[in-house]
Subunit: 144 residues, 2 copies
DNA sequence: TCACAACATTTGCAATTGCAACAGTTGCAT
DNA sequence: ATGCAACTGTTGCAATTGCAAATGTTGTGA
């Protein structure tokens, strides 16, 4: 039996493939709510974190400012987020979630939960915990 | 101390963040060779697998046909891949790597190796193996 | 206090990507 | 054989994304 192609078992490769599948799964479920994954991430963050500026969101996701600007354009048009004047800076905006967004939140969290469950369904609780721990280590210690 | 934001430790979230960093790291290194990550993936596959059609490549990566078509346009322009007539079908092309591509291959494999090493530098050999095993399980068993 | 660098956000334009339609080829059931 | 659905690959056009410049604001050091 010939050897597996080297890339198939490489960690980077597996991570990228899984990320792509997660992306597709999340986008499919979010499309029903008219959201992209990016918008969803911003929305959830603002809901959890409370009022924050666009730059803060950008730093959190390592996303360029213009992407935040445009994503929020969409979320604002959907009535989920609003840009307020910042209390201490006239250049920054303070973003916060609307009632409508808060009403939507439970459904959003349910999506995250369901997708994560689908992802780990082949693993026992113990293995899932171990995987979570190892991934967290890599997230913190990787040199890239 | 208040609880961590729920999403920070979710497995899907960590995988997506790592994938993004891997993507950036690979693209930065590949840019020196004038390749995108997509082109690189196709190139490596053709080098390892030998002659194959565009549709076969597409199925392997779950990539749309037009993306393959355009990526190969670039690789062909760079003199790394060529489209031959397929011996048994007039609609399919047989793609294969040029000498130039084969000469480049060692440098390409070195990049993969280096990035994977950077990724797992915070893990011991045993932990890295365990992580690889768990990820492989998820790749095979996930419901998404 | 004034010049200047850094910051927060937006936007015009170019490059990239995705969708859908197209052109040609093949297999298969009638 | 022939009509049709499925397949292989390409392309025009629209949507999305990314870069870089613009606009206005703030902090800081001479």
């Amino acid at each position: 039996m010939r050897a597996r192609l080297s890339r198939e078992n490489s960690m980077g490769w597996m991570i990228q493939r899984l990320a792509r599948r997660l992306d597709d799964a999340m986008n499919a479920r979010l499309a029903e709510h008219g959201l992209t994954l990016q918008q969803f991430a911003i929305l959830m963050t603002v809901i959890e974190h409370g009022r924050m500026t666009q730059a803060e969101i950008g730093r959190l996701f390592a996303m360029p400012a213009y992407a935040i600007s445009r994503a929020i354009d969409g979320l604002e048009a959907d009535g989920l987020l609003v840009r307020d004047a910042h209390p201490s800076s006239r250049r920054a905006h303070q973003i916060h979630a609307t009632e409508k967004a808060l009403d939507m939140a439970p459904a959003m969290f349910a999506i995250v939960k369901a997708v994560n469950a689908d992802l780990t369904q082949g693993l026992g609780d113990k293995e899932a915990g171990e995987l979570r721990r190892l991934l967290a280590t890599v997230v913190e210690t990787a040199a890239i």
